[in-house]
């Protein structure tokens, strides 16, 4: 599924990487625990998290995550957005909660990373 479709389905604002949302993702890893992301994200996965600090972007970069969706209406600070831009990691933000965001993407055919 293209990031542009995910943006539309989850009604996201795009905070970084809005110039190219044609990137495809097939798997998703969702957690507020960064070690879980590091342990279980398949390279190229979409990461869904409520953690919005700079470590969330570092974790995405280290885990080779393709893009981040922040949930519950939370917004990353400027440092995190800048790091995402520098690391070429698109950032989307939705007001949906973790359960709903995951459920909707699961219904649309995306799979877990484990």
């Amino acid at each position: 599924m293209k990031l542009a479709e995910i943006r539309d389905i989850l009604r996201c604002d795009v905070l970084a990487g809005d110039d190219d949302l044609s990137t495809e993702v097939d798997t998703v890893v969702a957690s507020d625990g960064m070690s879980e992301i590091l342990a279980f994200a398949r390279p190229g996965a979409l990461m869904i998290t409520g953690l919005t600090n700079v470590q969330s972007v570092r974790t995405a970069d280290i885990a080779n995550v393709r893009a981040i969706v922040y949930i519950r209406g939370k917004r990353p600070d400027e440092k995190a957005v800048k790091l995402a831009r520098d690391s070429n990691i698109p950032i989307l933000a939705t007001s949906l909660g973790m359960f709903d965001a995951c459920g909707i993407l699961r219904e649309q055919g995306l799979k877990g990373g484990m």
Partner: protein, 145 residues
């Protein structure tokens, strides 16, 4: 005897959350430029990042030593800090002594050391309470060996 190709050391400061991860990111870049297998890079940087976060969260300061030989990647993370009282428990998934503040950072869920061990071909940890902890890890370049 393995031939050492590269050796770098990085200073990590405790509580420096903003910089945490820079060492892992730099090591990732170095290994990418050397065309090391992507899976091995992935494992190496997870080790480096988790170890950095441990130093930042728990220790006063630490040194990461990154060594590449023609046979393996070695990472040693030596910190000055409180040490670990119960190593066996610290290596158990889900066990943590983290504070709420650490958890708010997205870490401290009892997976750091297990993640480091899982991604290592060889793993050693030594700790002295009140002095510090040293984690030594190795990843073989030739996974068929």
């Amino acid at each position: 005897m393995a031939e050492e190709l590269l050796r770098k050391t990085y200073q990590i400061r405790g509580r420096d959350f903003d910089k945490a991860g820079e060492t892992a990111t730099e090591i990732k870049q170095i290994l990418k430029e050397l065309d090391i297998d992507a899976g091995l890079i992935h494992r190496t940087v997870i080790i480096a990042f988790e170890a950095e976060m441990n130093v930042v969260m728990y220790a006063t300061e630490g040194v990461v030593t990154f060594v590449l030989t023609d046979e393996e990647i070695r990472l040693e993370i030596a910190d000055k800090g409180p040490g670990i009282e119960d190593l066996k428990m610290a290596l158990t998934e889900g066990y943590s002594t983290a504070t709420d503040e650490m958890r708010e950072m997205g870490f401290g869920f009892g997976m750091g050391l297990p993640n480091i061990r899982r991604n290592s071909d060889d793993f050693n940890i030594a700790s002295e309470v009140g002095t510090g902890t040293t984690v030594s890890t190795m990843i073989r370049l030739d996974q068929s060996a």
